[in-house]
């Protein structure tokens, strides 16, 4: 139980980077971008084939981000210059990327099990620090029997994700970032205030896909393989993370909203892991579970809100009734 939740948190914190990317397009730019299903795989493909060809894992991961950026920019160009509807532009790019990803890999799947990945390197550096032994000691004293093999991935990824979050927060407060945020709200105004909306959209979708591809590259290295189909249904996972985060946490400021998205991504992973532990569930049911989570996260807050409103109204009516009765008695 603990081990599987631990694993969920490990991948959750990496998927959080992807969710931040989806947040940028979906919420900030109001651009429902389906490119991510392709660019996530592009990230994994570029990272995996680079590593297999002897490129250092850290460089491979940066290359993955760069490839995602290009893919996103192309979607942005299709939409702004080609005047293609955002949804369709994303679908077209995603479809094209499927072939491109196969070309990058040269085969449908690349295994990294024999290769040195970012996380192997991390593990060997980490074991010297003795933090694992320390944390596992604490866990075993509180009576846990199964212990995680390494804390390196979780702790280092938390740091990396937080750094990415802080950079995103800062970016969205810069002059460029402010104009970008206004685009999702009011494109006409941004143009009338002399900002190049086309360029901003292209850049924004590019950054978003760079984040998604980074997550793809890292997930590939964590799982030990890149596969042409690993991006399937990714957009719904991203949306689920955003919606869960927004339903549970405050999104008043940008900093709070991005934190909510990250926590949403982790919670989503934990829910899926727990759901899959139910006996009659199979791995194939994961997509259905995801859909149900998203529907629940969308519907439940609304139902609760409506009930709260109803109760408030009834109370008010009761009060008024009492007052009327009180005055007629007197």
């Amino acid at each position: 139980m603990f081990i599987s939740i631990f694993g969920a948190m490990e991948s959750g914190i990496i998927y959080a980077i992807m969710a931040l990317g989806v947040y940028l397009t979906f919420r900030i730019l109001d651009f429902p971008d389906l490119t991510v299903e392709g660019s996530f795989v592009t990230g994994a493909a570029v990272a995996a084939s680079s590593i297999v060809n002897g490129i250092p894992p850290i460089t491979a991961t940066i290359l993955a981000a760069f490839a995602g950026f290009i893919a996103g920019c192309l979607t942005g160009v299709l939409h702004t210059k080609g005047k293609i509807n955002p949804l369709l532009a994303g679908i077209l790019m995603m479809t094209a990327l499927y072939s491109i990803n196969l070309r990058i890999m040269g085969q449908p799947t690349i295994s990294l099990l024999q290769e040195t990945t970012l996380f192997n390197q991390l593990g060997s550096l980490w074991s010297a620090t003795g933090i694992d032994a320390f944390l596992n000691n604490i866990l075993s004293t509180i009576g846990l029997e199964q212990l995680p093999t390494t804390w390196a991935i979780l702790l280092v990824m938390i740091v990396i994700t937080i750094i990415i979050k802080l950079l995103t927060d800062y970016f969205l407060k810069t002059e460029v970032g402010l104009a970008l945020r206004a685009i999702g709200d009011n494109k006409k105004m941004v143009r009338s205030l002399s900002a190049n909306t086309d360029l901003l959209i292209i850049f924004g979708v590019g950054i978003s896909n760079a984040l998604v591809a980074t997550a793809g590259g890292l997930i590939g290295q964590l799982g030990g393989f890149a596969d042409a189909n690993m991006g399937l249904g990714l957009i719904v996972i991203g949306l689920a993370s955003i919606i869960i985060g927004e339903a549970l946490f405050s999104t008043k400021t940008i900093a709070k909203a991005t934190l909510a998205v990250i926590l949403g991504a982790i919670i989503y992973r934990i829910i899926v892991t727990l759901a899959l532990r139910i006996d009659f569930m199979e791995t194939g049911d994961m997509k259905m579970i995801t859909a149900i989570i998203v529907i629940a996260a969308l519907v439940i807050p609304r139902v609760l809100q409506a009930r709260k409103e109803n109760r408030r109204r009834q109370q008010k009516r009761a009060q008024l009734d009492q007052q009327l009765r009180g005055s007629s008695d007197a």
């Binding site: 002059e175 460029v176 206004a182 709200d185 006409k188 143009r191 009338s192 205030l193 900002a195 190049n196």
Partner: protein, 264 residues
């Protein structure tokens, strides 16, 4: 300042719906001119605005601002010269962002946008000073979301956002038409004050003849894509609504058919 040379634009050319929206318009504005534009619906007022702002490309003619030809510039580049307040109070601001963030976006209008913070301490102080001039208490609500403001407040903010970076040309596109009479009066007096203090060269479209007479140093009347009446200075200040209606009848030989213009 602003020069329009032989501007013509025809919509739906070659179809039964063909409409000459602007018909050989020539107009020259001096530095500091405040021109009010009236005319019935379909006279070409909005088209004129859109041609100046770069929203529409004319079929013929030139737009020159500060001696620079504008026609080859896309709208976003032209808006470094041309500031515009729209009729819809929702059109000029970003509702999900705060007042200070909106002002920061507007502040970058004629500068290059960089990767440095948009809202700094120093700018905050400056925004506050600017908001004080509106006299509606917005200076104490810098971090409030603009979506929470009323239509009048949003329009006042739009006016400030458009003018405080001093564009070469200020376009006011029936910017009080969507407000209730009290708010409209407030925005009108703010407009008068802002234009007087900054000396911005201004072109204001209005449906309200009284407003057109009260404001500005020059008035033009448009009909069927042409400028049919143009008065300025002393002569304009003596003008009444009656005079305008008479002028229209004299020139066009028909009654001015749009009640909204008279009553609005």
């Amino acid at each position: 300042m602003l020069k329009l040379n032989n501007i013509s634009i025809t919509f739906n050319e070659g179809t039964p719906d063909e409409k000459k929206a602007l018909d050989n318009i020539n107009l020259e504005l001096e530095q500091g001119d405040f021109i009010t534009v009236i005319g019935s619906n379909g006279a070409g007022k909005s088209t004129l605005m859109n041609v100046i702002s770069g929203n529409l490309m004319p079929d013929l003619g030139d737009v020159v601002i500060d001696g620079e030809p504008m026609l080859h510039l896309p709208e976003y580049k032209r808006s470094a010269f041309v500031g515009r307040v729209f009729q819809d109070p929702m059109a000029g601001t970003s509702p999900s962002m705060t007042i200070e963030e909106n002002l920061a976006i507007a502040y970058s209008r004629n500068k290059k946008r960089r990767l440095r913070l948009g809202v700094t301490k120093q700018r905050k102080g400056m925004f506050k000073e600017q908001l004080k001039t509106l006299n509606i208490g917005l200076e104490n609500r810098l971090t409030a979301k603009v979506g929470l403001l009323s239509g009048g407040e949003r329009q006042a903010l739009s006016l400030l956002m458009t003018t405080f970076t001093e564009p070469s040309i200020l376009l006011l596109d029936e910017h009080t038409a969507a407000l209730d009479p009290a708010r409209a009066a407030l925005i009108t007096s703010l407009t008068e004050e802002v234009v007087r203090n900054s000396g911005l060269t201004t072109l204001m479209v209005t449906h309200n003849m009284q407003q057109a007479l009260d404001l500005g140093n020059r008035l033009i009347m448009m009909d069927k894509g042409q400028i049919i009446f143009d008065v300025r200075g002393e002569e304009k200040s003596r003008l009444t609504i009656e005079d305008l209606l008479h002028a229209f009848k004299r020139i066009r030989g028909i009654q001015f058919e749009d009640d909204r213009v008279v009553l609005g």
